[in-house]
Every structure is written in structure tokens, then in C-alpha cells.
Symmetry: C2
Subunit: 206 residues, 2 copies
Amino acid sequence: MSDLREKIIKSSLQLFSDKGFHGVTVNDIVNHCDTSKGGFYHHFKSKDELLYVIHDTFISYVLNEANQAKKCYDRPIFQLHEMLKALVRVYDLYNEHIVVFNQENKYLKENYEILIQKKRDNYKEILQEVIKQGQELGEIRNELPTTITNMAILGMVNWTYQWYKKDGPKTIDEIASTYIDIIFSGLLTTEALEEYRASKLSMTDI
Amino acid sequence: MSDLREKIIKSSLQLFSDKGFHGVTVNDIVNHCDTSKGGFYHHFKSKDELLYVIHDTFISYVLNEANQAKKCYDRPIFQLHEMLKALVRVYDLYNEHIVVFNQENKYLKENYEILIQKKRDNYKEILQEVIKQGQELGEIRNELPTTITNMAILGMVNWTYQWYKKDGPKTIDEIASTYIDIIFSGLLTTEALEEYRASKLSMTDI
DNA sequence: TATTACAGACCAACCAGTCGGTCTATAACA
DNA sequence: TGTTATAGACCGACTGGTTGGTCTGTAATA
């Protein structure tokens, strides 16, 4: 991939995550990374395509991580642990992508929106399946409705984009550890919780 | 208050929550509620002011609810219970306000942004104080960092705007009940949790 | 020479906001 | 009661600035 293309993406990420997609003009972007309209439109069909590329980069990465987590562990409880760990850790890699992903998805043009929505749903399904299996195996409390639980977890984690700062007082590992603690204490059956706390994967070792 | 003013707010809520602030023109709004540019600008200084009014209506309401909850109960655990119940229930009253509030706050103009941020922070402080007091009284586990816990709860609840539909398969009370279950199981000390479960305010009675 | 990579002047559409004007209602007055 | 004065509510054509995108030209590269 070209050098300029990456520069444009990097600049736009910085600008979009700060002022929002509509708060940034194409001219703002090309000025910021010291190129021109010509340079921009040589690499991107439109401003909308750029927004799509940002979305896709992020969701594809996360989706891949989720699939890895499912493959590498066999018990739902550990799959969930791994997925959460991965999802929160992404914040140190893709902080700006995430802000744009959560803030500007409404402005994706029809075709692009469908593509992203598909992957988004795919991720949700994976998580949902893990929870359902956890319930079937008696690791996660059956009283909890699966879909609501699913969205509760996603909400807690995704909301991080609203307040997390890389140079802030809380490290991302500390945050991940707290989320996992709350979620596991909140979801697991007493037996599974005891087992989990006794296991190597206890809170201090995320 | 004038009739038209309310009609404009109602229309804009519908349109904004669907297509986003920048996806809706002032002409879209006045066409939707069958008025004119003149009518619009007679009631609002600018499109930005309209956005502010929507934000303020919602946050002021929620802030008031939170203060009520603090006043009406003396123990943190019950204050928290009441705050969560209230916050989730708002979804049936202010669904569209909430979508706009969470999606478009980046586009508030400087002055307005400061006013809203102040109330937003105020709400966070109230919740944070409840959690801290809960920890001091031994009702909430001390291992949990207060601020992260605070944001975890807010995230779980606020994320509801991303998926809740009034005519969907889940009622708002069911959702509130599940959130409270997860959060209380996740946060409370074993003693407090037992006490809570034994009390009238058990899950089935939210 | 042909192709790719970029520059930057330019254009057409769009959109928030304006402004002169109308219509209705109520108050003041004769 | 009939007439006029005044204010507020609302209308809609118009404008001026902005912005995404195009197009022609040029430099580098192969």
C-alpha cells in the first residue's frame, strides 16, 4: 500500500475522532497531511469510502480476534475471558478507529453500511453463542436472558471509547481487569465463579 | 409554549434520531411538520440551538431523577437501585432524545457543549458518590476501582440506545431487571448481595 | 514513451440563515 | 359597536459561503 494512502488515513482518524466526520472537510484532511485534493482522490473514490475503510479495518480486526478466541479455547467461560481481554486491549491499538466506529456509523452510505452491519452482527452472534453455550453448560446463570446479557456486556466494553484516554490515569489492563471482574461476578454461577477464581486466569493475570 | 415549537422539536427528534443531525436539513424539518423557514427561525435562533434544547431537556430530566433517588433513599445500595431503574425507564419516555444525546453531542457548539457537559459531569458525580459510599459502608466490593466501575455501569445502561426498540421483543422493565441483576451480582459484597436478594427489592419487583 | 502519482484551480450543488412582507388577534379609541 | 393601531406568528424567495468532487496539467518512474 502506498505511503500517502496511509498518511491520509492516519490524518483523517485524528481529525474525525476529534471533530466528527461532518466537522472535517476533505480540505482539512489534505492540509493536515500536506497533500492535495488530487492526492486524496487518487487513493479514495470519495470521502465516504474513506469512512468505510476506517470502519472495515477495525471491525475486521476485532472479528478475527473473536474467532481466534473461540478456536483457542474450548470452554465458553475461557472463550469469553479471551474475547473480553482482546476487545478491551484493542483500545491501545485502534483508539481512534473505535471512536469513529461508534460515533459515525450512522453516516456510512447505504452499500457500505450493509457490509459493516454484517460484520457487526457477526461479532454479536459469536459473543451470543459463547454466552448461550455457557448457560447450557451451567457456567453462566440461566436466569439471565441471553440477548440482554449480550448487549449489556457489549455496552460496558464499547462505552470505553467515550472516556478512555491512552495517557489517562487508568491503564487499559486495569480497565479490562475490572470489566472482567464485574462481568464474571455478575454472570457466572457460584460453582463456575469459584472455579474461575481458583484457576490461573484470575483477575491479576489477565 | 407555542404549539409549533413543540411540533418542530418532535419532528426534528424523529428525523435526527433516524438520519443524524447532519443528515437532516432545516428544510427537511419544516417540511416534515408542515411549516416554513420563517416559522422555524421564529422559535429557534439556529439549528444548533434546537440541538441544544433537545440535549438539555433530556439531561435535565435525568439529573432530576438522580437527585430524587438520592434524596428518597438513605443507603447507597437502594439509591443505586433507584437510579438504575429510573435511568433505564427513561427509554420509554425519551427514546429519541437519548439517541440524539448519545450520537450527536460532538456537534454541539462550544457554548452549548459546556452547559451540557456540566450537567453530564454532575450526573456522573452523583453516581460515583453513591458507589464510593457503598464501598465505604461495605456494601460494594472494595477491590473495584470506583471510576472504572462507574463508567462500566454507565456504559452498560447508556448503550441501550443502540439496540432498544419500543416495539421490540424485550420490555424495558425486563431489560432494567437484567441490568440490575448483573450489576448487583457483579458489585455487591456477599453479605450485601444476600441481604438485597432477601429484601423486598428483589429482581422480580423492580 | 507510457503509466502512475500527485498538484491545485475550478465548478455545481447544497444549505443555514436572512429579510421583506402577510395574516391574525387583541387592545385602544371614538 | 365599528374602526384603527400594534404586536406577534409565520411565510418563502433569496443569498453567500461552504464543500465534495472534477479536470487539466505536470513530475516522476519504469
